[in-house]
């Protein structure tokens, strides 16, 4: 189980994986798109963006989890230097940042197929789902 106290604590990535949005969040978004976007063509385009978002989340989660072994080993190693831990985390931070940027682009794509009114139904006040890793 040694899932990476350090990865989780230090990277600050997310919930059970490395992103603050989970595949189950995306499933909920899909459901809301179905309800909010009546035009099937636009709904399909929106769902394509959500598929890409899910892939992005899953890809980063893999990176995140893989890094756990390295950070745990560094934590356990009494002789490991702080620099090694810092370098590992900086590398993860870079990956996280790149993932966030790709996600922001996907948000823009999602908007192209969704009106402001529909957006409010999906993400507005009172809605629990958010792409919080945007």
């Amino acid at each position: 189980m040694l899932i990476a106290m350090l990865t989780v604590f230090l990277l600050g990535g997310g919930l059970l994986g490395g992103s603050m949005i989970t595949p189950s969040d995306i499933a909920l978004m899909n459901e809301r798109v179905e309800l909010a976007v009546e035009d099937p063509k636009r709904a399909a385009v929106a769902k394509e963006a959500l598929v890409e978002l899910e892939t992005e989340v899953e890809d980063f989660n893999k990176t995140f989890i893989d890094s756990g072994d390295r950070l745990s080993a560094l934590y356990l190693d009494h002789g490991a230097s702080s620099y090694e831990t810092l370098r590992t985390l900086e590398s993860l931070n870079v990956e996280w940042y790149a993932s966030q940027n790709r996600t922001v682009k996907l948000r823009a794509r999602l908007k192209e197929s969704i009106t402001a009114e529909e957006w409010a139904k999906i993400f507005g006040a009172g809605q629990a789902v958010l792409p919080s890793n945007l």
Partner: protein, 146 residues
Amino acid sequence: MKQLALLLLLATLASGCSKPNLDPAKLRADETALVQATVADPARAEKLLALLDERDRLIDETTGMLRQYRREMQALNADYDASREIIIEMIDYYNRDRAEKQLRFIELIKQMKATTSAAEWEVIAEFQLDNFNPRQLIYGRVTGAL
């Protein structure tokens, strides 16, 4: 008291933990007892316990930071017209804040290792990694903010 609150929170969030039936307050007490039993010199043991208190405070801070970030990002995302630049600005801010906490935690680890021998550290670190699931310590506590 703060530690106890933290661990009680952990208890409420234990679902999904690999050891869901363990009492977090007892685990933290066990950690303290382990430090006292493992670190030969009482003065070093006390120093390490103080560092663990600092660790808990840092976890609290980090949890607060993450909760705030999620709230702010939720509000920003809900705004259909929020620009890419504004969103990136928030990501940058969070990234910097997190990096600062990472540095503090790395410094804490350095101090904890410097306070212990290699043999002592191996015992304590293994206990920590085996028994405290920090995904629950921080992110489990943040889930409720969704």
